[in-house]
């Protein structure tokens, strides 16, 4: 059918209308990646429900949320650092270390235990930040080395300083496993949600947050503008350390005991959640909301793989492949726009 009113306008057939719609949808998805992510999450929940019909219930969702909370917090740390163009491969070791200290100090009361645990995060995070800024070490290397150092330290300390209690205080266990409303909303999710609000506020509404984005975007310009870049960076790594410590304490609360491998399984997922959620590893691009949905996606995926009962090897393979696939589709989607 031709448009007789204006012969210069191209003919609009039905397939072209559909094509136009597809392009529009693609544009919307590219500009608001969060919508796409929510769609993927929805599909995954349905798929898991098909595999295990009991999943689509309060307890099933609750289990996923319980797992997603520490992951979401760890991924939040990665998000902040990736925004500055960095990364933290020591975050899971920081979490484990904080958990260890918290467990060990539990006889002194939950409050002291938590404070000292977070202190571990502060110290390790600051060390990372100093290494990256003052000594100009590549963040990948610095955090990788920090992870190794912490592993050695805590291995040694389990025999000496931190000997004794590896059992966690009751309050922490409560926060790790308990829930509001008769087992509906886990406390750890509440912790995650509060941290999320703080983190999003910091990133979007404060000058510091804006500097974080700016440094990841164009560090040279920020420096020329007179900003002390190293201060922002060190505080970012410190914040990541604190977040990692909180996640570690939550994890300890959930399992009730600590060991040196407590958080190590969360390392790739923490990076993956941030990448899937749209945070660029080169810096300057990304939001914590995307990361949160990324963390939820990975947790649902994990539940599905567990229900499929395939064994650790295949779980690892599928997990790595899906992370790759998601990152790829995300990258090609945002590149077209």
């Amino acid at each position: 059918m031709t448009n007789s009113n204006n012969p210069n306008q191209p003919a609009t057939s039905e397939s072209e209308i559909n094509e136009g719609l597809l392009v529009r949808l693609q544009q919307i998805a590219a500009e608001n990646p969060v919508i796409l992510l929510i769609g993927v999450l929805f599909l995954l929940v349905i798929a898991t429900g098909i595999v295990q019909p009991n999943y689509l219930s309060v307890s099933g969702i609750r289990n996923t949320l319980l797992q997603a909370a520490p992951l979401g917090i760890l991924a939040g740390a990665q998000t902040v650092l990736m925004l500055t163009g960095g990364i933290d491969l020591s975050i899971t070791m920081i979490a484990t270390g904080a958990a260890y200290v918290a467990a060990n100090q539990s006889p002194n009361g939950a409050f002291i235990a938590i404070v000292l645990g977070i202190l571990v995060g502060v110290i390790a995070g600051t060390a990372n930040g100093v290494g990256v800024t003052v000594f100009r070490v590549n963040p990948l290397i610095m955090t990788l080395a920090m992870s190794g150092i912490m592993l050695g330290l805590f291995t040694a300390w389990t025999i000496t300083l931190l000997q004794g209690s590896t059992v966690v205080a009751d309050f922490i266990k409560l926060v790790g496993t308990g829930s509001f409303y008769e087992n509906r909303i886990p406390y750890s999710v509440v912790v995650w949600a509060s941290l999320a609000v703080i983190l999003i506020y910091l990133l979007k509404r404060t000058g510091w947050g804006r500097l974080v984005y700016a440094i990841g975007n164009n560090e040279g310009a920020v420096r020329l503008a007179g900003v002390r870049v190293w201060q922002v960076r060190v505080t970012a790594y410190m914040l990541a350390g604190v977040l990692g410590a909180i996640a570690g304490i939550l994890l300890a609360g959930r399992t009730g005991v600590v060991d040196l491998q407590l958080a190590s399984a969360y390392l790739l997922p923490s990076v993956a959640a941030a990448v899937i959620g749209g945070t660029s590893i080169f810096g300057g691009v990304g939001e914590y909301t995307g990361t949160m949905i990324g963390a939820l996606i990975l947790s649902v995926l994990n539940s599905m793989l567990t229900y499929l009962n395939v064994g650790q090897a295949i779980q690892q393979i599928v997990y790595g492949s899906i992370v790759l696939a998601l990152a790829w589709s995300y990258s090609s989607l945002t590149r077209k726009s």
Binding site: I87, R136, I141, G152, A327
Partner: protein
């Protein structure tokens, strides 16, 4: 004119020193450490030399692989997982087999894993996903595959393979010449390839300035794929060396992760900047041996193994910091 000749000679020597300074320094450090170690223990002879050289082999190969990838401007966090894969494939399929089968398995495995990592390089090129994320993901995939092939430590290999890497068919003792040869020969071959062949030189160029290289007409994608492929093949060789040394396969994820960290440390210690485009695989030999020697030196000094692990971590971190500082100064100077 005569004075011109003299100027040329001095310039040439200065340039050689400035370009290879770090590698020369690494060799010097190695010799110093060897001498110091020999004073720490009562007997320093053939056995000690053999054990140092043969235990360093896996890390030497791994570091060479990682170095090529880093020089081309990338990084491979899955290189330890690839070593794991090579290790378990060798251990599983070589046990109690005829020599011909063993040989076939080795060759196929090295080529196969090289192709696998080359595919990873292709994915990195085509998809635009940063190499850190891709190789982090593939490290999980390959570790999972390794776990499938060999669910728990075990397997074995042929005595000839053990001899090839250590000079002894049972894995105990041996002689130092064979491991040293196994270190020198592949390193020299790779060095010649990197410095004389078209692809090798383009790897340096691309690592130095990818955009300029592309504009100059170099095939960037192909060079990156090749760098990852050679890196994968070297990792497989390292896995083969591991099974030759230990006699078994170990599929645990932590082994691979540790190996990756060590490979990055060796690369930095050997003078290859993580920003790419500079450095030489010749530095990998002293770097890897130094890192492996840390443990025996620390235990000879009477330091207990846990503190030794901490000190090792701190030393690696310190090395990387120094490397980072040097790289920054190099950038400021240029």
């Amino acid at each position: 004119m005569k004075s011109d000749n003299l100027k040329n000679k001095k310039d040439k020597r200065q340039r050689m020193i400035s370009r290879n300074g770090w590698v020369l320094g690494a060799w010097l450090l190695l010799i110093t450490l060897l001498v110091w170690y020999s004073t720490l223990i009562p007997v320093f002879g053939r056995f000690q030399l053999t054990s140092i050289s043969k235990n360093s082999l896996p890390l030497v190969f791994l570091a060479i692989g990682q170095a090529i990838i880093v020089i081309c401007g990338g990084i491979d966090l899955s290189i330890g997982a690839l070593l794991l894969l090579g290790n378990v494939i060798a251990a599983r399929f070589m046990e109690d087999q005829a020599l011909g089968v063993v040989f076939l398995v080795s060759v196929l495995m090295i080529i196969g894993i090289g192709i696998l990592n080359g595919l990873t390089g292709l994915v990195i090129s085509v998809s635009g996903i940063p190499d850190i994320v891709v190789t982090l993901a593939t490290s999980y995939i390959w570790s999972g595959v390794a776990l499938l092939i060999l669910p728990s430590p075990g397997g074995g290999t042929a005595p000839e393979v053990r001899w090839l890497f250590s000079g002894s068919e049972s894995g105990i003792g041996g002689n130092p010449i064979i491991p040293i040869l196994m270190m020198i020969i592949p390193t020299t071959l790779v060095f010649l390839y990197m410095n004389r062949s078209k692809v090798g030189l383009s790897i340096y160029a691309i690592g130095s300035d990818e955009i300029a290289s592309r504009l100059a007409g170099l095939n960037v994608r192909w060079a990156k794929i090749i760098s990852y492929a050679i890196g994968g093949a070297m990792a497989a060789l390292a896995g083969l060396a591991t099974v030759a040394l230990t006699g078994t396969g170990d599929p645990r994820f932590s082994v691979g992760a540790n190996a990756t960290l060590n490979s990055v440390a060796a690369v930095v210690l050997g003078g290859v900047a993580l920003t790419g485009g500079t450095g030489s695989v010749l530095g990998m030999v002293p770097a890897a041996v130094i890192l492996i020697m840390l443990n025996p030196i620390l235990s000879a000094m009477g330091i207990n193994p846990n503190s030794a692990q901490i000190i090792q971590g701190v030393l690696i971190a310190a090395v990387m910091m120094v490397g980072g500082l040097v790289a920054v100064r190099r950038e400021k100077a240029s």
